[in-house]
Symmetry: C2
Subunit: 326 residues, 2 copies
């Protein structure tokens, strides 16, 4: 299976590493908006090309994995690339998924390609945990906790404050809330009771620390509903101790069964990830395999993880899977 990468940042590099782990996949080409000559990749012999050349590769690539951002890149790129390729993306703006789905579906159906959108861990594996556990326990309650991990959006929001030079924001699940959920207590939890936020901030010279701290803690939507801690540190310390990309989280459904709903059941799915982008792209490559197979079977248009039989993600055949993993 020949894989193309569009966009060579953290995600693009992650796809490149994941392709090496999967013997049935190979990297065909990397496409970038930058000057291709300035982009050095980790795989010898694979061409780096300008993104405008991509369409000339339509018959040399089985699946194009789109490694752009959800804010401005993917809403344009996924429907455009779906004209020429089977595609997989990690579009993660939950509220805009239905609109994105419609656009991509039209493009993929018109051109006879298969697209799988919103692949990764949330949306993605967490969505799978939600759909399976909801179907199995209709009488129940869902809880999703994120962290401990860096939230890119919240870190960016702090960086936009006047007087801030650099910042990292960690989202941290509240342990006591997690324990109450796991104990089957079905608590009603406010935003504040589920997560805390911890910020590491580098100030510009002469900036007013208490003013910055106040601006962070009262920022609507991002911080005002949370218990937020702000630490001021040097740029050296930020780069040394807060450069990691670890993340994770928990999806828990607590539900009841029985004649009088007397039996409680807890279904928990959790992730602890050293590298958010490398894990996300490992999921993307597994779904690229599914996109390729579905297209060969004539199943075109836009899909999500909900539409894909699990066996389509595996390089192994049905007989092997039934004998070894069932």
């Amino acid at each position: 299976m020949k894989i193309g990468i569009s966009g060579y940042g953290n995600l693009g590099r992650g796809v490149e590493f994941a392709v090496k782990e999967n013997p049935d996949t190979e990297l065909a080409a990397v496409f970038t908006r930058r000057n291709p000559e300035t982009v050095k990749i980790n795989t010898a012999g694979v061409p780096v090309l300008h993104v405008d050349d991509a369409k000339n590769w339509a018959d040399k690539i089985d699946v194009m994995i789109l490694c752009g951002g959800s804010a401005t890149d993917l809403p344009v790129q996924t429907p455009e690339f779906a004209k020429y390729f089977n595609v997989v993306d990690s579009f993660d703006t939950h509220a805009k998924i239905p609109a994105h789905f419609e656009k991509v579906d039209r493009a993929a159906k018109d051109s006879g390609h298969t697209a799988i959108i919103s692949v990764g861990w949330d949306p993605g594996l967490f969505s799978l945990a939600r759909i399976y556990s909801n179907a199995i326990l209709p009488d129940g309650k869902d809880y999703t906790f994120w962290g401990k991990g860096v939230s890119q959006g919240h870190s960016d929001a702090i960086r936009r404050i006047k007087g801030v030079k650099n910042a990292k924001q960690y989202t941290i699940p509240v342990e006591s809330a997690l324990e109450a959920v796991r104990a089957g207590k079905n608590p009603e939890l406010t935003v504040r009771q589920k997560h805390t936020r911890e910020c590491f901030v580098v100030l510009e010279e002469g900036a007013d620390a208490s003013k910055v701290e106040n601006e962070i803690k009262t920022m609507p939507n991002y911080f005002d509903e949370y218990d937020t801690t702000v630490h001021f540190i040097s740029e050296e310390e930020l780069l040394k101790n807060h450069g990691g990309l670890a993340h994770g989280g928990f999806v828990i459904r607590s539900g009841n069964t029985g004649k009088n709903h007397e039996h409680n059941h807890i279904i928990e799915f959790n992730l602890k990830l050293d590298s958010n982008p490398e894990f996300t792209t490992s999921v993307l490559v597994a779904y690229a395999r599914a996109a390729c197979r579905l297209n060969k079977e004539g199943s075109t248009g836009c899909k999500t993880v909900f539409d894909i039989p699990p066996a389509y993600l595996s390089a192994k055949d049905g007989e092997y899977l039934r004998a070894h993993l069932l």
Copy 2:
């Protein structure tokens, strides 16, 4: 969707309760090998019939859920019922799944029905955790822990010992092993290091306790490779404190990604169940929905959880699922 139940023990009752939780399903009839007049069910107005009458109901039932045991019932019943019905079973003898699959597949294809076998939590949801996490992290290691919960097979094995009147056996995961796996240490674990076994035994009058204890602890396959504790208790205590059907377990994959495989990721799926049979049957009813849909689409033959798109388990449509659960 009209559901039939074949076999009315703990599983059959569980299906009956689960049907009440799912507004798109209704119970059509219960079939039993006993004298139907002696079987009282919990749903008013639903007929209880002898299992020999089942084939006369072929056009009145959308999916028959088979609630027999894996040792002797299902190997015969599932292929036989697949001649007349779409069927779902919970066949859980892992080593015999490939042979069972072949027999059921032939019967279901010949008659144009859809069969889903080995549905429940292991095999079932644990198998799903294994296939997804293996496809995503090819460089990794799987761990499955069961418990704390009652093992029916081990309890039965103790009851067959001369001098034993009754017994319950709990399988208990070793907490330190679980913690080492969760910490990404990828330990090599022997059978003894993963689980302990705790037995509650009621002796016949005059039986030799130390002889029974020795026979349990040295029993090949069942106990000899484990650290086993044996408690002798009265029958009253057994019935009062050890009548529950709680169970659960953990599937964990620990895998690595990155240029030099330097990033570790932990994918964990775990269950904590007050009632093993009621949870198992909640899974069966969700897959009955999938069997019915697949059959309407013309997809016949035998399937497992690996072959079923997650959306087929849900009563909600794709648009709802994308907007709310993705």
